[in-house]
């Protein structure tokens, strides 16, 4: 089990900078999630730690050892990929044995059998052991490829969107299973995903990556409540936060596109010029006595809640309301927000400049 440190790591592919001065410190036994949109550099980070790519500059440490010059085999990390992760032509059992048969591990046949049996039992794939990998379902394949990581008892588990190819139901089940597995093994997990739900539900801590730069590191709760800038705010959370450009006038929020006003409790001192107001959908209320009028543009039923898109002039706002409230499209409603939940972002830079108290 191990701690992973990245010190100002940059990676440039010919003329494209994939990572810029990335600093990361993942504690031993931590479930760390790296979240970001496609092309943010998540996979590159993983490949750098695995040793499949060399950093252009910077230092990577595993358990305090500088591993920049180490090959992937020496680093003792396990990699679980989104696809193509199982060796074709081999049975599940042979796939699980494969890493143990490497010369550097030098495992005895008895030990191999024991570890394969343990992994198969842990992941409940014992009945699949003699099957060829091309006769497995997506979920089974992903389980086997996690099993191939487990048998090695590696220092670090690196997972590159392992759940993306699974259907929604299975993904949900695997999320819980993976988290559970990590707790049982007490291993360090670095999990890469573009799905913020995975990040929120599984991560002990998470880092949000965008254009090769780490925007924010923190616990999921922390990042959700207090995003460092409007990108993080917009990326984390589903349904997404409402970001409303405007300014503050005599203690009230004035939203520019629809030029409507909403009350504020306090305003941060720095909020002098243009401000972007961030308000989570669950902090918008649709009630008859609310201050503003809007038209229901769209209703999305999510079962336990419904996400209502409101239209004020040309501005659209998302509000999540309990499912039992009957709302129809094109209906006139009144809405307001919880002034104490507003997050303020600088209108120019997008940086978080404070939140209402």
């Amino acid at each position: 089990m191990a701690r992973i440190e990245l010190e100002t790591v940059s990676k440039t592919f010919s003329d494209h900078a994939a990572l810029k001065d990335l600093c990361l410190d993942i504690a031993d036994g931590e479930f760390f999630v790296l979240l970001g949109p496609t092309g943010a550099g998540k996979t590159t980070t993983l490949r750098l730690i695995a040793g499949l790519e060399e950093p252009t500059t910077g230092q990577i440490r595993i358990n305090g050892d500088a591993v920049n010059d180490w090959g992937p085999a020496q680093r003792d990390v396990a990699l679980v990929l989104q696809q193509y992760s199982l060796y074709p032509r081999l049975t599940v059992r042979d796939n699980l044995r494969f890493p143990l048969r490497s010369k550097i591990r030098n495992a005895s046949p008895a030990e191999i059998a024991e570890r394969v049996a343990y992994a198969a039992k842990t992941l409940r794939i014992e009945h699949l052991l003699d099957r060829k990998t091309d006769r497995l379902s997506g979920g089974e394949m992903q389980r086997v490829s996690i099993g191939r990581a487990i048998v090695r008892k590696p220092q670090v588990f690196l997972m590159d969107e392992p759940l993306s190819n699974l259907d929604a139901k299975l993904r949900e089940a695997m999320r819980t299973e993976l988290k559970d597995l990590q707790m049982r093994l007490g291993a360090t997990f670095l999990f890469v995903t573009h799905d913020q739900v995975e990040a929120m539900t599984m991560g002990d801590r998470m880092g949000v990556l965008n254009h090769g730069k780490l925007e924010q590191i923190g616990t999921p709760h922390d990042i959700y409540r207090n995003p460092r800038n409007d990108f993080v705010a917009g990326f984390v959370g589903s349904p997404a936060i409402n970001l409303l450009p405007g300014h503050i006038e005599s203690g009230r929020a004035v939203v520019t596109p629809g030029s409507f006003e909403l009350p504020l409790t306090t305003a941060p001192a720095k909020a002098t010029g243009g401000v972007t107001f961030g308000i989570r959908p669950e902090d918008l209320q649709i009630t008859s006595g609310a201050p503003l009028a809007a038209v229901v543009h769209d209703v999305e039923n999510h079962g336990t809640e419904q996400v209502v898109t409101l239209r004020v002039g040309t501005t659209h706002l998302r509000a999540s309301v309990p499912a039992h409230i009957g709302i129809k499209v094109e209906e006139q409603v009144r809405f307001g927000w919880s002034p104490d939940k507003v997050i303020f972002f600088d209108g120019e830079t997008g940086v978080n400049i404070g939140r209402a108290v």
Binding site: R75, Y87, P88, R152
Partner: protein, 318 residues
């Protein structure tokens, strides 16, 4: 299975089958002719119209594998007591009775055939091995000027090889590679390796590199990953490339004719040399050719499953 419904489809199918039959006739006719002639008595080999029904004989093959040595004058004829296969070779005793006893020895054909096998198999193995490794390098690593290198490799096939025959001959004579197995193997490997690189690159590009990366992370070296993961995955491509290379090396005529004369001569230049002076014995030539066709046919047959997938050049989803 799709059911044939409309009249148009049925007609289309019939036309397609007809075309295939026609093509088969065109392609198979020479082979049938060779096969038939290889078993004909000499006097039926060149009849017009061709003889289709005849009593097959093995005499062409016996003649192919034996040769008549210089006849010694003034020696007693002993045709009646000669074994049957000697009698066939000795032309019904006609010449013996005129000039004396003939001697029968093994002809040059078996050793030429063996030479063909040695040269074709070795050069195919070398070309495919080198081609596969080179293609792997081009496919997986960033090679400076990759496109230029690949074009350069391809450019070796832009001239007909015979263009360089005379300089090659002079060079070979200077270094003593004339009429050696090694000389021909080097030549054929050089022809084939460019082809092998290009063909194999296409196949290896199709193999997801994630497999090898998984193996690298799992504790294997690049070489081990290549042998354990890439090679089995590329088997189809290797089979297809090997068949192409083997056919090229096996059928090569011009260089074999120029570069070899006896020791390392392959079958292609040897067979027509049997025409010799006087009337050519087409039955012997046909039997030599029929045997010559067999190795390629067998090789292709053995690799047919790989070839069916390989011929589509990776277009079929694995």
């Amino acid at each position: 299975m799709a059911t044939v419904t409309s009249y148009g489809q049925r007609l289309g199918n019939r036309v397609a089958v007809g075309m295939i039959i026609l093509a088969l006739i065109v392609f198979l006719a020479p082979i049938a002719w060779i096969g038939a002639t290889a078993f004909k008595p000499r006097n039926l080999a060149t009849t017009v119209p061709p003889t289709i029904f005849f009593a097959p004989e093995v005499s062409p093959f016996v003649k192919l594998f034996t040769k008549r040595v210089q006849l010694k004058p003034n020696e007693k004829v002993d045709y009646e007591s000669a074994p049957w296969w000697e009698r066939i070779v000795l032309d019904g005793g006609e010449r013996i009775s005129r000039t004396g006893r003939g001697e029968v020895q093994l002809s040059g054909y078996p050793s030429r055939f063996l030479n063909s096998l040695i040269v074709a198999i070795t050069s195919t193995f070398l070309a495919v091995a080198m081609g596969t490794i080179t293609a792997y390098g081009f496919s997986r690593f960033k090679v400076k000027g990759e496109a230029d290198w690949l074009f350069f490799i391809l450019s070796t096939r832009m001239l007909p090889p015979v263009v360089v025959a005379i300089p090659m001959f002079l060079m070979y004579r200077a270094v003593g590679l004339n009429d050696t197995h090694l000389g021909l193997i080097i030549l054929y490997t050089a022809f084939n390796v460019s082809f092998a690189v290009w063909l194999m690159k296409g196949f290896i590009d199709e193999i997801p590199r994630e497999y090898e990366e998984a193996a690298l992370v799992d504790g294997y070296t690049r070489m081990e990953a290549f042998f354990k993961i890439v090679l089995p995955e590329a088997a189809t491509g290797i089979a297809a490339t090997a068949v192409f290379c083997f056919i090229t090396a096996w059928n090569e005529y011009a260089f074999a004719l120029i570069m070899t004369n006896r020791r390392a001569q392959t079958a292609p230049p040897f067979i027509p040399s049997q025409v010799g002076s006087g009337l050519p014995d087409w039955t012997v030539i046909a039997s030599g050719t029929a045997l010559f066709l067999l190795p390629v046919a067998i090789f292709t047959f053995l690799l047919r499953n790989h070839l069916l997938r390989g011929m589509s050049f990776g277009a079929i989803r694995k």
